[in-house]
Symmetry: C2
Amino acid sequence: MAKAPVLTPQAEDFPRWYQDVVAKAELAENGPVRGTMVIRPYGYSLWERMQAEVDQRIKAAGARNAYFPLFIPQAYFEREADHVEGFSPELAVVTVAGGKVLDEPVVVRPTSETVIGELMAKWVQSYRDLPLLLNQWANVVRWELRPRVFLRTTEFLWQEGHTAHATSEDAAAYARRIAHDVYEDFMVNVLALPVVVGRKTASERFPGAVNTITCEAMMGDGKALQNGTSHELGQNFASAFGIGYLDDQGAQQTAWTTSWGVSTRMVGGLIMGHGDDRGLKVPPRLAPIQAVVVAVRDDDAVLERCRELAAELAGSGVRAELDVNVEVSMGRRVTDWELKGVPVRLELGPRDLADDAVTLVGRISGTKASVPLAGVGRAVADALDAQQSEILSQATDRRDSRTAECAGFEDTLEAARSGWARVSWDALGREEGEALLAESSVSVRCLVRPDGSLPLADSEPDLVAVCARAY
Amino acid sequence: MAKAPVLTPQAEDFPRWYQDVVAKAELAENGPVRGTMVIRPYGYSLWERMQAEVDQRIKAAGARNAYFPLFIPQAYFEREADHVEGFSPELAVVTVAGGKVLDEPVVVRPTSETVIGELMAKWVQSYRDLPLLLNQWANVVRWELRPRVFLRTTEFLWQEGHTAHATSEDAAAYARRIAHDVYEDFMVNVLALPVVVGRKTASERFPGAVNTITCEAMMGDGKALQNGTSHELGQNFASAFGIGYLDDQGAQQTAWTTSWGVSTRMVGGLIMGHGDDRGLKVPPRLAPIQAVVVAVRDDDAVLERCRELAAELAGSGVRAELDVNVEVSMGRRVTDWELKGVPVRLELGPRDLADDAVTLVGRISGTKASVPLAGVGRAVADALDAQQSEILSQATDRRDSRTAECAGFEDTLEAARSGWARVSWDALGREEGEALLAESSVSVRCLVRPDGSLPLADSEPDLVAVCARAY
């Protein structure tokens, strides 16, 4: 009798496969209040690694971390017309506190442009105070009607950057810098997701933005996931909150602001962007556990050598874990490490030991080889590099093979059944074509140049629309 | 005419001095909703360093980070009688979300014992699942009637550890381990606050705990600050939430739990525990900026050498900052670096350069010396070590000189006007004496052994009460 698969196969039911991975790899589960989630230790360790990598890039881009309140006066939301319209349906409101009904209800932040705008107005006085580059790591709340763990939850964790600039050009350049140097760099080189960086169409912009740059990743079922966004807010929030400054001529000016964020949604992107029927595949540069040393059998010499090996790898900077849990069957443990997507597995049993060797298995490449114990440090380092390249090329190959060059509306709709369509924005019929696609749940994920690069303006000629169904 | 002091002198008005430091060093300010705070970049960088140091120690103690929801069903709070009584007056409640009145209001977490208890009950089945050691970094909300930035705010940031154990002994030992190996070690060796680690009296325990271990620090005005606590929760939460397990004999048992936390309140403790009339003093091991290289004057050779020096220090692992902001007067910049408490300042001007030297100023020791540029790396490393020892001995000397050995109620009351009193718990009159002290706003901060160490039980003989006024 064939062994029952641990996970629902992707080809059978992709959404159920996703739920199975989240549960079986012990990544997260639903919280008691509808739409909330509990992030379990292994899931959280993936997020911690994402935070560390993104935080380092944000700091390199000159922004400084700060912290703004969870609670925002409801009236703040009414100051920017598009913003209030966009967020009102999703707000959670505290009306009772300290045993009393509040005179003024407070909103649990869905995003912090408003409260940060209020504070920036105090802090910015002169052109010398600009640019003001801030970021915060925080939780935000958006009441979700159709929640889905990591992808769309009532509460999620994220970073939100907020900056103020003296000129439109400076704000636009910084929003692009974040999209490229922070998000795209992290997503491609660490997460190994070959994102397309493009401009959102007007209907898909952040409420209150004049331009939204998005990083779109292809998932295993050919759908798109918006994995991070960077917004030019023009002077909308600066005007609403009075962020003004005296320029070097002594004239009063209004500032230009940006905001940008990535969230725990990226954990969902990691799962669906790389996983297979055996579970997660985690790129080595992200992996909280890069290599696991597995003792095949309960044997003193084997256990001791495994301990030495794990310590040796940790000493050389590999995030290594030791599995000497020999009372559990080897098959079950291997299944579990595969499920968790650990990129390199070193199996050591009495036969390996007799050969002065260890069996090195690559989760991403699927390769298995006997490696001399003497040179194992170098072999693991090489294997990690190889797995990192391999996972990016697997994801890039899939994205490219499932992206069709289309000529107009009909073939775009057809291509978006199973992947992405690239079509001339003009040939699609621009906003009208976009509205028609929406009737079939297909959206314009972003606009790019013919060579795939980021356009600087909606008015550029020959824009290409990347169209897909999306999470 | 004498220059007006930047800060209200401590001796004149300590609470105003505190507010001045918070504002002028740009640490934090009030948020728009009563009792909330905005943590500004420099204040947040102090918290980030605290987080990094505490997180490392928590992981070394075997606990793993996870994340639990901000929103908790109101009904959960009613399951543990002391807990609901303790927290009810402080809860913030969401009653409206997604545009509708909720059928069941949800509480914004004031602490997470309840929701984590609910999840632990699912995860713990067998003795093999124990101990379960979890921690989360999160924001919590307690509606405060008399808020004070960092010390008592409606929303604050903290870590809360939550663990489940098979036996009372194991839970008690872990609560002590956290108090000593995580909190005391961090507070003494990094924060340089010589905390007294003791047991809270029954009236001061966490709501729902059977024992609370506290780390009490003396502030500059002789008052005490509870800087962190570790609780044994007995079986109170395990019974209320059904955290049970099958023991190795197959019998059903109830688990024993602990919880423990430190918060942004520690930033207040850092300010008031070390600051002087010139501002903050930050211990080098904590300091986000350990050494600042200050160009005394706008001179190309000086600026270039300053840049090299800052880069050299950063390269050798010092958290170094460069100040070439020469359009601002040297006096004002020095005042500002003193205000921010940067432990080592290197001043370099044309005369220093001519001597191939730099002027090294210790913020904590108040020393100033010319140091040859050739050996400056070593000199800075030595100075940082010296400032770290010096700040701990300053704080220890103050604590010891302002702690009086008392014989009974009257002299305890007198001593607590300006510092701490140590008095036999029996001679004080135990709970009765404690209640009398409370009438004069003096509290028993904790019970210790005569040698100052942590008692294992309230029933130990010869307990000493440490009494003080407190924040």
